[in-house]
């Protein structure tokens, strides 16, 4: 009972200034991930853009052309799909590689043995995943123009658009960090089905949140999905005339979610990385 008390807490949990060597190691680890992504760019883009592309095509083009949805629906849909792309790409970019690395290939070990705090390896994963999410979301802009003919855009809301986009990328990556480190290897399939699918459809990306007033219970459920606030923030920036959650509320919820999930994610990451 008493022998488990540990005299040495990991240095990584203690805030302290980052040294030049650690910063260099961090950048080298980030460079490795970017290098691999850039080299496999077509595969990466196909992997992340295909799902939102089909959602956009079926809901925004096919259903409206067939008359099942009104023409204005694409204005509501596109910001939501952009939000979904950012969040889901971020989530997958941390969760999948981490589950595989920690449980099977152990490739990450070489980076865990690099001279930088282990927590910074987790931060690097989030930064990298966010960059991938950002790239995927930006690619959706021309894709949107191509499929829908035009996309809603408000130059005056650009700062809000950028803020929400970045927060969306980060929130997805942080949630992925938790998933990738908390899910045991034998549960990957189940967990991704149980988490990803509800996440996709309770995030207000295919419908504005305010319109759910007559479906109260579902509106409450969606309020627990961080994606909802990214979708609503995007709408606030791109189609301000559509009723939406107030931008400051969305930004605040996202910021808090990022801080909390990052803290939990790093803690879980340390548990996996150091026995």
């Amino acid at each position: 009972m008493t022998t488990t008390t540990s005299p040495t807490r990991p240095a990584t949990s203690r805030p302290r200034p980052v040294t030049a060597g650690e910063a260099r190691a961090f950048l080298a680890v980030l460079w490795r991930d970017l290098y691999v992504t850039v080299r496999e760019l077509p595969v990466f883009l196909a992997q992340v853009v295909l799902q939102p592309l089909f959602l956009l095509f079926v809901f925004g083009k096919v259903l409206t052309d067939l008359g099942f949805a009104q023409g204005g629906y694409t204005r509501v849909l596109f910001p939501g799909i952009l939000a979904l792309t950012a969040v889901v790409t971020g989530l997958q970019s941390t969760a999948f590689p981490l589950v595989i690395d920690f449980s099977f290939t152990k490739e990450i070990e070489d980076r865990l043995l690099a001279p930088l705090p282990v927590g910074m390896v987790a931060v690097e994963k989030v930064v990298f995943a966010s960059l991938r999410a950002l790239l995927a979301a930006l690619v959706m802009l021309p894709v949107g123009v191509w499929i829908l003919g035009s996309i809603p855009w408000q130059a005056s809301s650009a700062p809000l658009f950028v803020t929400v986009l970045l927060l969306g990328c980060l929130v997805g990556s942080c949630l992925g960090l938790i998933m990738g480190t908390a899910v045991p290897p034998n549960r990957i399939n189940v967990m991704f089905a149980l988490i990803l699918t509800p996440l996709l459809f309770t995030g207000a990306s295919q419908y504005p949140w305010a319109s759910l007033g007559h479906l109260r219970w579902f509106q409450v459920v969606t309020a627990f999905n961080p994606l909802t606030y990214v979708s609503e923030g995007m709408r606030a920036a791109m189609v301000p005339d559509v009723p939406h959650i107030r931008p400051w509320v969305s930004v605040l919820v996202l910021a808090v979610t990022i801080v909390v999930s990052m803290a939990i994610g790093i803690r879980l990451f340390l548990r996996r990385a150091v026995d």
């Binding site: 080298a28 490795r32 691999v36 980076r111 043995l113 705090p117 150091v274």
Partner: protein, 360 residues
């Protein structure tokens, strides 16, 4: 990249190290202490689950200790893991090469993580690939490599940041004999270069072949620590002297009785010519020189009595000192000594003596 790298004092120092994993009932490492000198090859020998890998895990910052101290080049691995990581390199049991990168890139990125300048990384990578016979496959992905080749790449990768200590965790487990010998040669080369090496193994041959000193571990405890020679020398009654005698009508029982009565002989037993029953087979191959058992019938005529006697003497002391007395006894019986083999005890015997169990 330097700690207290001045050649003084131990490079690796472990004192009263304890590790208990979450939810475990017992300590995986239970009060282990040892020190490794600069340039030494230090072996941790023990069965699976003895705590060897955990000990290495603590020293390489991947396992958090529960008690005691562990340092590398004077750097406390628990208090300053970042600095410690720049001083150590690990070759793990399992292939953990980066499958998205070629093996050359594996080496280059590893050095980049450790802050080796770009030009120097390239120079070191090319030199190591050449030295390890990997230059022609530098652009290949690790997936295409056999276990032995991957092992080579991992050793090369470990050397990229010029570590103070190289940890080899079961470096030859699962390798074919040729790959095993290659790893052994590399370890000797590295030692010649002055690299300090800590290796874990459950292979007693490997430990005695490579290690300057061996720590024998079992159930989290370090049971013994010394040079392989000293460890085996310390075993009472574990040295053997195997003799072959051409009998010339002499009754074997008389001879055996007298051999057994010699000072320093604890026990004597006749041995079937090939495949000794029980006991410790002599080291250094089968006995040579004597007529083989069941020799062709042109031996000395001896009626119905056996023509040859093989006996193993279990000794309390140095086997070499008993050769002359044995020869004298044999001569007195008018028999002829045809072969003498000194059987040295192995580390396996040491392990059995310490734990009462076989190593595997």
């Amino acid at each position: 990249m330097n700690g207290n790298g001045n050649g003084q004092g131990p490079v690796v120092e472990v004192r009263d190290l304890v590790k208990r994993y979450r939810k475990a009932r017992t300590n995986a490492v239970d009060g282990v202490s040892f020190a490794v000198r600069r340039g030494e090859v230090f072996g941790l020998l023990g069965p699976n689950g003895a705590g060897k890998t955990t000990t290495v895990g603590v020293l390489t910052t991947r396992v958090r200790r529960s008690g005691g101290t562990a340092s590398v080049s004077g750097v406390d691995v628990g208090a300053d893991p970042v600095r410690a990581r720049s001083l150590v390199a690990v070759v793990p049991q399992r292939n953990n090469l980066d499958r998205s990168l070629s093996i050359r890139q594996n080496l280059l990125f590893h050095a980049a993580y450790h802050g080796v300048p770009a030009a120097e990384r390239v120079r070191r990578a090319d030199a190591l690939l050449e030295e390890f016979g990997l230059a022609e496959r530098a652009g290949d992905k690790p997936d295409m490599f056999s276990g032995g080749q991957a092992q080579r790449v991992m050793v090369a990768r470990a050397l990229m940041h010029a570590p103070e200590v190289l940890f080899l965790d079961e470096p030859t487990t699962g390798l074919d004999p040729a790959a095993r010998l290659f790893v052994w040669d590399r370890v000797r080369d590295l030692k010649a270069r002055g690299v300090t090496i800590v290796l874990t193994t459950h292979d007693m041959d490997e430990a005695s072949e490579l290690a300057d000193r061996v720590g024998i571990m079992d159930r989290g405890k370090l049971l013994a620590l010394d040079t392989p020679a000293a460890l085996t020398r310390g075993l009472p009654g574990r040295t053997t002297l195997e003799v072959a005698v051409a009998l010339d009508g002499t009754p074997a029982e008389d001879l055996l009785g007298e051999l057994g009565a010699l000072e320093g002989v604890e026990r004597v037993e006749p041995v079937a010519a090939a495949g000794a029953p029980g006991g410790w087979p002599p080291m250094g191959g089968p006995p040579m020189g004597g007529p083989p058992a069941g020799a062709p019938p042109d031996g000395p005529p001896g009626g119905g009595a056996p023509r040859e006697l093989r006996a193993r003497l279990y000794l309390g002391g140095d086997a070499a000192l008993l050769v002359a007395p044995v020869a004298a006894v044999v001569a007195r019986h008018r028999a002829q000594l045809t072969d003498v083999t000194i059987g040295a005890p192995s580390l396996e015997d040491v392990f059995i003596a310490l734990t009462g169990r076989a190593l595997r």
